[in-house]
Symmetry: C2
Subunit: 242 residues, 2 copies
């Protein structure tokens, strides 16, 4: 069924005004067709298309229920800046898997850290990817994408999660399973993954000093866009959300 | 450390001849530098670059050991034909995660099934992606990519695995966890995922008639390139390989 996000100011006494009229037309929806409108705060509205003009579309509300696409765990994904396409791919896939929010950060092995106008543009592009992945996968929220100023500020933000995990290629002892056996039912999990080339020993030391758990993703070397997706999938599996 | 695959005919009394001389030069390797050469059959050779010419490169063998990048479970990945880029992503990521082999197959919702020359080209391109992902991630084998003639032949091939899993969007009962609780230590696992739009009820019926376990990947709708990656990551986690 067609699915759109709306903003609270789009609701009126008549129903919900859909902003993306072009999308409604592209899907060839007709008057009376059912569709789901989500408020982006975890509630789905079951609707019927009530009227459709050249530049407006109005949906009549038939009922509401909590969005089924929200996992029981709050997953925050921290991504070191990497080449554009890799970040985009990681954000899209992690939204589908159930991530709640994203933070980008610079790391020692980051090749280039965007700032000013370039950063604004990157955040806007990733926000659009997040919204479309959320719509397509049936999420109840649109995960935010924001930027941390430094590696350390990313680590400090991550540590407010119940279980903050730092994925480090040189970690030989602790596995994801070990980390979850120490804290088996976290309400929130953070995953922090590196750029091409991973993290440096100094960064790993800073992360563990702040209380992050340094964990391995196994014997194979994962690319910087594969690691967050694999970690997100495993977290969703472990917490009973997949 | 630099890592290459070689073929058995590349070994001589002097050492191992590296075919991809351009790659050796691109990595700026010098005489005496250490590198790993893998036979593609699970053995790594610790080597030193012994000589390097315009069109040849020879490595001296210093020792050998089993490749550390091979998981304990044999994972076969069955992918319905999808748009080119999506298959390429899925193959690259699943090789990094430890897949042993790939089978492509047509399904009812496949938009276009390549044959003849187009199929040959697609298989060659995916084989090259598999090889480079295997090299980069430290695998001990290069996973094969081949094609099944029909949906049913894919299902029949999949069922030779100890635990053949069919990922079906409309499956509401069985989860991945349930499937593994019935068979907790499979030596081989097959994962079968659909094209854009997933599988039809008729296909799901055929798969379960053949003994495949129809399982869900959770409440969120995953794209056709996300599902195999998420399933592969979960299988590697469950079997203690991640």
């Amino acid at each position: 069924m067609a699915r759109f996000f709306f903003k609270s100011q789009d609701i009126s006494g008549d129903g919900i005004h859909i902003r993306d009229v072009a999308h409604v037309r592209a899907l060839r929806l007709r008057i009376g067709d059912e569709l789901t409108l989500c408020d982006g705060a975890g509630t789905d509205f079951r609707c019927r298309l009530a009227s459709l003009g050249a530049d407006f579309a109005l949906a009549e509300i038939a009922g509401q229920s909590p969005s089924r696409g929200e996992p029981s765990v709050r997953l925050s994904v921290f991504l070191a800046y990497a080449k554009g396409e890799r970040l985009e791919y990681a954000v899209q896939k992690c939204v589908e898997l159930g991530a709640a929010e994203f933070f980008l950060f610079p790391s020692e092995r980051t090749v280039s850290t965007p700032d000013g106008r370039a950063l604004e543009k990157k955040l806007a592009r990733l926000a659009a990817i997040s919204e479309s992945a959320a719509e397509q996968s049936g999420r109840g929220i649109i995960p935010d994408v924001s930027a941390c100023e430094s590696f350390e500020s990313a680590v400090i933000t991550a540590k407010s999660s119940d279980l903050p995990l730092f994925f480090y290629e040189n970690e030989k002892n602790l596995t994801l399973r070990d980390a979850f056996s120490e804290n088996s039912a976290p309400k929130s999990v953070a995953i922090v993954t590196g750029a091409e080339g991973g993290f440096t020993p100094v960064e790993a030391a800073i992360a563990t000093q702040h209380g992050l758990r340094s964990v391995s993703l196994g014997a194979r070397i994962l690319r910087c866009d594969t690691a967050p997706i694999a970690a997100a999938a495993a977290v969703m599996y472990i917490t009973g959300n997949m």
